[in-house]
């Protein structure tokens, strides 16, 4: 059976491709917004304050269901990570013990 760790592969792919791509795009977009909203024009100032007000008017209750699910999924993800660590530890110990068992 080939020695492939799908989880590691997936995680690295996700980290290398998706995370880097998303971070770059997000940073680029944020920088563009920052430069535009940092203008000293009267109407830009007005828009800036308006956006701040809109941000403050955001209600957590609107998204609390999705946020809760994301939190639970993150917890499950951490448990799986721990399970992988344990099973790899078991594998390493078995690999260490196996030659000694065979020789006896």
């Amino acid at each position: 059976m080939p020695d492939i760790d799908f989880f590691n592969f997936f995680r690295w792919t996700l980290a290398m491709v998706v995370t880097v791509y998303a971070t770059l795009i997000t940073l680029q977009s944020l920088w563009g917004w920052y430069v535009w909203l940092a203008g000293s024009d009267k109407y830009v100032g007005l828009l800036r304050r308006y956006l701040v007000v809109h941000g403050l008017r955001l209600r957590f209750r609107t998204f609390w269901g999705d946020v809760l699910i994301c939190g639970l999924l993150s917890v499950a993800f951490l448990i799986l990570l721990r399970a992988h660590a344990l099973i790899h530890d078991i594998e390493a110990k078995l690999n260490y013990v196996a030659p000694h068992v065979r020789s006896h």
């Binding site: 590691n8 997936f10 809109h54 499950a76 099973i87 594998e91 196996a98």
Partner: protein, 317 residues
């Protein structure tokens, strides 16, 4: 406020009544005196410490004095010389300063003139000088007294109402009365022709300066609009009709402006609502993407765990 001064910040101040009373001469005395007591026209202090030189009534040109006299309800043609006019103006201002402010406000309410509740005595008096009405019903005794004094009648405090009214009517003069009656008749004819009802509302003072910038709207809401009959009786046929057309146009414009304002408000609310929807939708989308990523990670994790388990326990090396 007088329009004579070129500087809008300038204001003509009355001298102190108490101190000036001794120096104040009557019109007859003033006519006899070659150089009447000059009335100081002090400017309103624009900033502390900076005071332009004072102006005097006697320094004003004849036409400006006549205009000022007209605003105070004086007939400038009755005063042949500048000195007499200045003295008469001085007397008139002294008389206004001595009048009770509440009595003046009574006249304003009765005459339905557009004045703020905090207006000064001179401003109120100038508005009263424009009132030509001879229907005194609803006017208090003190108001009637103030009106009589403003119309140049020698009225005393203890004069009863009928006496005051008789003096006022006597002061009006025969031809003026005939003209007024003629205008009233014309006004009632026009009012009947246009089918106007005489419904009236309670008088209200104008809002103070700065409370509402649209003076037209303030004037429209601040007082009961006079009937066309009253307009014609007071200003003549053309003046009355012009006033009415102007007021109707003002009211129409105000109504249209209100409609435009309401439409703009609705649009702004709509934009605000759409922006809030867009914001919520964007956040929901981001959360959805995060959720999908977590689900896929979990599935791959579980699959990988099973694969490792099988690899270690079921298919050992």
């Amino acid at each position: 406020m007088s329009r004579l001064t070129s500087d809008p910040t300038e204001q003509k101040l009355l001298p102190d009544v108490g101190s000036a009373s001794g120096a104040a001469a009557t019109s007859a005395d003033a006519l006899a005196t070659p150089a009447p007591e000059p009335v100081v026209v002090a400017p309103r202090p624009v900033s502390p410490g900076v005071l332009p030189p004072p102006r005097q009534l006697s320094e004003l040109p004849r036409d400006e004095l006549e205009h000022l006299a007209d605003e105070y309800g004086l007939d400038p043609t009755r005063y042949p010389t500048r000195q007499a006019l200045v003295a008469a103006l001085h007397d008139r201002r002294q008389m206004i300063a001595s009048l009770d402010r509440d009595a003046l406000l009574d006249v304003i309410r009765w005459g339905r003139r557009p004045v703020t509740a905090g207006a000064g005595k001179e401003q109120i008096a100038q508005e009263i000088a424009r009132i030509r009405s001879m229907r005194f019903s609803g006017l208090s005794h003190r108001g009637l007294l103030a009106l009589a004094k403003m119309r140049g009648i020698d009225a005393r405090e203890d004069d009863p109402v009928p006496v005051l009214i008789r003096k006022l009517k006597k002061k009006e003069g025969f031809f003026s009365r005939i003209n007024r009656k003629r205008r009233a008749l014309l006004g009632s004819l026009v009012a009947r022709a246009v089918g106007e009802s005489g419904a009236s509302a309670e008088y209200q003072f104008l809002p103070p300066d700065g409370a509402d910038v649209s003076s037209g709207a303030s004037a429209a809401t601040g007082k009961r609009p006079p009937t066309i009959k009253e307009d014609i009786e007071e200003s003549g046929l053309f003046g009355g009709i012009t006033n009415r057309i102007k007021k109707t146009a003002d009211a129409y414009l105000n109504q249209k402006l209100d409609e435009v304002e309401a439409r703009i408000d609705r649009k702004l609310d709509e934009i605000d609502r759409r922006l809030a929807e867009w914001r919520d939708k964007e956040i929901a989308n981001r959360l959805k993407i995060l959720k999908i990523t977590l689900w896929v990670s979990l599935i791959v994790g579980v699959f990988s765990l099973l694969y490792s388990y099988i690899k270690i326990y079921l298919v050992p090396h």
